[in-house]
């Protein structure tokens, strides 16, 4: 009987070798899963109800009673040992399979997430919306009007008489029917005052046109924002304060402004307004080099402004002895170019997506 058990164990060990001598380094997941299936079959074969050891157990009746206890122990011992070997092999394989699966299903968490490509608003739109928000919060109404105007609104009402250099310049576009593409958004001042009367506070963003040869700083169509405030007792101090306030809201609290005397037919006194350079904070030096946006001056020229000319007020039926007002205007392309260090404003109208996608 002992020999029989010995024989069973030897058979087991011979067959079990395939599970004991696994080269895990070269084992593929599918081979491991195959081995696992084999191991289950093997387990059933050697420890199941129809296994040799089970058969051997049945022989206990043929054993003399005094030897039965010992026989029983040795069978159980053999069975236990086989089972434990199988379980160990099972665990090794199971761990290997689990580990391999995790390794195989490990993600590269750094690749981009799944989302549709989003688009971008034009930098001019982004800036225009910001400026509109600021002015609306300061009590201004956003206005707009015709882009094709007649000479009255484009020139005469703005105190630019025939023969005036600003009018003589060859840069106004005319239609074959004698109308002008507005050369400044100041036209909206007139139309808005006619429509709303005074007191009035408006800004008018919009397209304007000048027959200029395109170059890095000129384009034949661009955007302007015009501001107008007319009321009793409005002074140049209000102009300066208002310009300073909205520039601080746009560029930051530290922004300083300055005004320099200038000339525009529709304002008197007139001024240019500059703001302290947002890149170098007005020092003229950025990272030990001459600052580019302000050309090292610390100031950036933004636009023109002044007190509304009494003739302009009169043209709109407003009595300049009772009312006074200020107006200002500036170009969005120029401001955009400054803000984003764009050195060629023609890019704004090429609609190259590599350009457009840089703005949010």
């Amino acid at each position: 009987m002992r020999e029989k058990i010995q024989k069973i164990r030897e058979n087991f060990e011979l067959e079990f070798r395939q599970f004991q001598e696994i080269d895990f380094l070269r084992l593929s997941l599918s081979d491991a899963e195959g081995l696992m299936r084999n191991l289950q079959e093997f387990k059933a074969k050697h420890t199941g109800k129809k296994s040799e050891i089970a058969e051997a157990k049945k022989l206990i009746k043929e054993i003399p009673p005094e030897e039965r206890a010992e026989f029983g122990r040795s069978v159980q011992e053999a069975e236990r040992q086989m089972l434990s070997l199988i379980q160990e092999a099972e665990k090794r394989l199971k761990d290997f399979i689990a580990e391999t699966k995790i390794r195989r299903e490990t993600l590269d968490v750094t690749i981009p997430g799944f989302r549709w490509r989003t688009g971008h608003l034009h930098p001019i739109t982004i800036l225009r919306q910001k400026i509109e928000d600021i002015f609306v919060s300061m009590g201004y109404a956003v206005e707009d009007d015709r882009e094709i105007e007649n000479d009255y609104y484009n020139f005469d009402a703005l105190n630019i008489p025939e023969g005036h250099p600003a009018r003589e310049a060859q840069d106004t576009f005319y239609t074959t029917k004698g109308l002008a593409l507005r050369s400044q958004t100041s036209t909206v001042q007139i139309r808005a005052m006619e429509r709303r009367g005074v007191p009035i506070r408006i800004i008018a963003p919009g397209k304007v046109f000048r027959n200029d040869t395109p170059d890095p700083t000129h384009v034949p169509m661009f955007h302007q924002v015009e501001g107008l405030c007319v009321d009793k007792g409005i002074s140049m101090a209000h102009l300066k304060g208002t310009v300073a306030e909205w520039l601080r809201r746009l560029f930051g609290k530290e922004t300083k402004i300055r005004m320099r005397p200038s000339y525009f037919p529709f304002t008197e006194p007139s001024a240019e307004f500059d703001c302290s350079c947002f890149k170098c904070s007005g020092t003229g030096i950025f990272q030990d080099e001459k600052c580019r946006p302000c050309k090292g001056t610390g100031w950036i020229e933004l636009g023109g402004c002044g007190m509304v000319h009494p003739n302009v007020l009169k043209n709109c039926g407003v009595n300049p002895e009772i009312y006074s007002g200020f107006a200002f205007g500036f170009g969005l392309e120029r401001m955009c170019a400054m803000l984003y260090s764009i050195d060629d404003i023609r890019l704004m109208f090429e609609n190259d997506i590599r350009f457009l996608r840089q703005f949010r």
């Binding site: 688009g119 003589e168 506070r201 001024a271």
Partner: protein, 704 residues
């Protein structure tokens, strides 16, 4: 305009460095662009505003320096008033006379030539100018010619008065007649160009013919040459408009015409003439001879009053009366009168830009410096307002950006040949007009003379640009105005209407990933348009199959919103694709945004949530090409089948095993009752009735 620092110092004492001076002048409204070294001198490069013609000379700038620093001018030559007094007694002229008694000068057009002085200088030697003179001219950017021409140039830059020297012996009868040119008269000017004059132009003539175009350029034959012995020096004042118009007509602008058309100082003529005479005698060795001054059109003196209260109103701060007087007198304004509430000042003859009270306020403000102005916020007034449609437009833009569309802005003028390619959005063009579109007289961009009636031309150009730069997956939109004629009448304002257009082409892209998920198609663009309408809170929209000029047959539709025709959508036709050399399908849509915004925003209305569950049936039908989903859906909704709560599109299949124009259209029907839970049998019964109805109405069969 260039100003030499050293030259300026000849005219006024300056304690400031050139850089300090430049800053001071800039802050007073005379913008100095740059200061450049020029040997032992500095050159201040000015960018003057067009109103300050009085500053187009060293004298002009010196006057400003005087106002800013209080130093006196040190002119070594005659004060204009002394000079004019001298000549009037010397020649004993009657001011009304249009001609000098000796007959040297006759003004036949006193409306165009207000004043004319002539000086005869005899026995000059024309040669190269001395070195100092050449250097000074070079400093201000002038090229030396000969001593006589150089001196006239020099005095113009010094005193601001253009002048012209004639060879006296070349003038027929040695005399000058100032008159309008006669029809057909010609003159070869100093630049050796033959120019045709007309009756509107003022000419300086001798007894026979024009010898100079007044105020613009002298004649070639009467000019100074090596052999010139005797000179007639013209120093005059011409009507500004006349000079300007002639200069435009002849397309000839000179340093002289530039100054005359902006306005020179009519009271400065004799001083300028004397200065040039002095220099010619000194340098060219001539002898001063006869001088005449014919001044038929006297300048009227202009007085402007100023109330200190106006200063306070406009500038926000008070200026003492004594301070007002001090500043304005430094600038050459003479106090004329003092009232209880103000003062009146005589405007100096060189200031053509001052005529009203506000101008005087600006003079005071700029001399005191704009830094003096405080920062104040006006008292509050009322709530701000956006444009009424701004919120909806911002929603639209945001929605489009979220769907991957980049925003384009294109020029409003396009090539006139382009508008014939496109079907213009409905109700924009007045077909009864001869000229339906708006055209520009000329454009700086070759050929771009049409004010665009469509945004598509610009968007397709953008597609081309991006293709050229290697970007083939594009989604672009533009919101902007288009233009069309409203009326045939001269001066009638055209229609300006805001449109919205989109273009897509290439693949559907994911952020940060290189390959498209698939190529775009008609439905991608349609989806984007539908989402746009939703963002605009519009009433129901319809897409009606229609042939459109610029779109491919079978892939184009008319877009209707709330029953109104608003635009078109579809795949760009092969013909247009060929013009733009597109080698991949391009889809475009254009709609009339302005009309869309006239619809009141549709507000959502709450629908009670269903209580009972629904039963769903997906059914595939075999449909003929002329039957579409919208027709089926509409007819079922009209029939109001019992318990049919929803009709949804599932799939459209055009397999090869299907005959001809047949397609397999799968539709999902949802059945639900508001009273009870439906049984399968009840749903089945409704469904069967629908299938029967559709077969009867459209002749379409259920496949499965």
């Amino acid at each position: 305009m260039n100003i030499s620092y050293n030259w300026l110092k000849d005219l006024i004492e300056i304690e400031l460095s050139p850089y300090e001076l430049a800053e001071k002048l800039t802050n007073a409204g005379l913008a100095v662009d740059s200061v450049e070294r020029f040997g032992d001198d500095y050159v201040l490069v000015f960018d003057l505003t067009s109103n300050r013609s009085d500053c187009l000379s060293h004298l002009g700038i010196a006057r400003e320096v005087k106002a800013l620093t209080g130093k006196e001018l040190k002119l070594s030559y005659n004060d204009p008033e002394v000079a004019s007094a001298r000549t009037e007694t010397a020649d004993n002229l009657e001011t009304k006379l249009n001609a000098s008694p000796c007959g040297l000068v006759t003004i036949e057009a006193p409306d165009l030539c207000y004043r004319f002085t002539a000086r005869i200088i005899k026995n000059v030697k024309v040669e190269k100018s001395p070195e100092w003179l050449i250097r000074r001219l070079e400093a201000v950017g002038e090229r030396a010619i000969n001593n006589i021409a150089d001196i006239t140039n020099y005095v113009m830059h010094e005193l601001g008065q253009p002048m012209h020297a004639f060879d006296l012996d070349k003038l027929t009868e040695n005399r000058i007649v100032v008159r309008r040119a006669r029809k057909g008269e010609k003159i070869k000017t100093l630049d050796e160009v033959e120019r045709n004059l007309d009756e509107t132009m003022l000419a300086i003539c001798d007894a026979e013919k024009p010898v100079a175009v007044a105020g613009i350029m002298g004649g070639f034959h009467s000019g100074i040459s090596e052999n010139t012995k005797n000179v007639l020096l013209e120093v005059a004042y011409f009507d500004r408009n006349s000079i300007r118009q002639t200069s435009r007509k002849l397309k000839l602008s000179t340093e002289a015409s530039y100054r005359f058309e902006r306005g020179v100082d009519i009271e400065n003529l004799i001083r300028a003439s004397d200065r040039a005479t002095e220099l010619i005698c000194e340098i060219a060795g001539g002898e001063a001879d006869a001088f005449v001054d014919v001044y038929p059109t006297k300048r009227s003196e202009l007085a402007v009053s100023l109330r200190p209260q106006k200063i306070k109103t406009l500038l926000g701060y008070d200026v003492e009366v004594e301070e007002i007087k001090r500043i304005l007198s430094l600038l050459g304004f003479k106090l004329k009168d003092e009232f209880s509430n103000g003062l009146s000042f005589v405007v100096p003859s060189w200031r053509h830009d001052v005529s009203i009270e506000e101008d005087l306020v600006e003079e005071i403000a700029r001399i005191l410096g704009y830094d003096r102005i405080q920062e104040e916020i006006p008292p509050s007034f009322g709530a701000g307002e956006y444009q009424p449609s701004e919120e909806r437009k911002r929603n639209l833009r945001k929605t489009l950006a979220n769907m991957g569309f980049d925003e384009a802005i294109s020029y409003s003028f396009i090539d006139a040949s382009h508008d014939a390619r496109f079907e213009i959005v409905p109700n924009l063009v007045n077909e009864n007009l001869q000229e339906k579109f708006i055209t520009l007289m000329d454009s700086i961009i070759e050929g771009a003379v049409r004010m665009r009636p469509t945004l598509l031309s610009g968007l397709l150009d953008a597609v081309r640009t991006n293709f050229n730069r290697g970007e083939r997956n594009l989604k672009l939109f533009e919101i902007g105005r288009v233009f069309a004629a409203f009326d045939d009448k001269e001066g009638a304002f055209p229609i300006e209407r805001e449109l919205f257009a989109m273009v897509i082409t290439g693949g559907l892209m994911l952020e940060g990933r290189a390959l498209p998920t698939r190529e775009v198609d008609f439905y991608d663009l349609k989806g984007a348009l539908e989402a746009s309408f939703e963002a605009l809170q519009l009433p129901f929209c319809e897409f009606v199959e229609k042939d459109i000029k610029h779109l491919r047959k079978g892939q184009s539709a008319l877009v209707k919103v709330g029953g109104k025709e608003v635009g078109y959508i579809g795949r760009l036709s092969d013909g247009i694709s060929e013009i733009y050399k597109f080698r991949q399908p391009v889809f475009v849509a254009e709609v009339d945004l302005q009309t869309l915004l006239e619809f009141e925003p549709v507000k959502p209305i709450y629908q009670p949530l269903p209580i009972y569950p629904s039963i769903i049936r997906d059914t595939a039908f075999l449909v003929k090409g002329n039957v579409n989903f919208a027709q089926i859906k509409e007819s079922l909704e009209k029939e109001a089948f019992q318990n049919l709560s929803k009709i949804e599109f599932v799939e459209l299949y055009q397999g090869k095993e299907l005959a001809g124009d047949e397609r397999s259209l799968t539709i999902r029907f949802e059945f639900r009752s508001n009273e009870k839970t439906l049984t399968e049998e009840e749903a089945e019964e409704s469904h069967n009735r629908i299938v029967e109805f559709l077969e009867e109405k459209f002749g379409i069969r259920k496949r499965f």
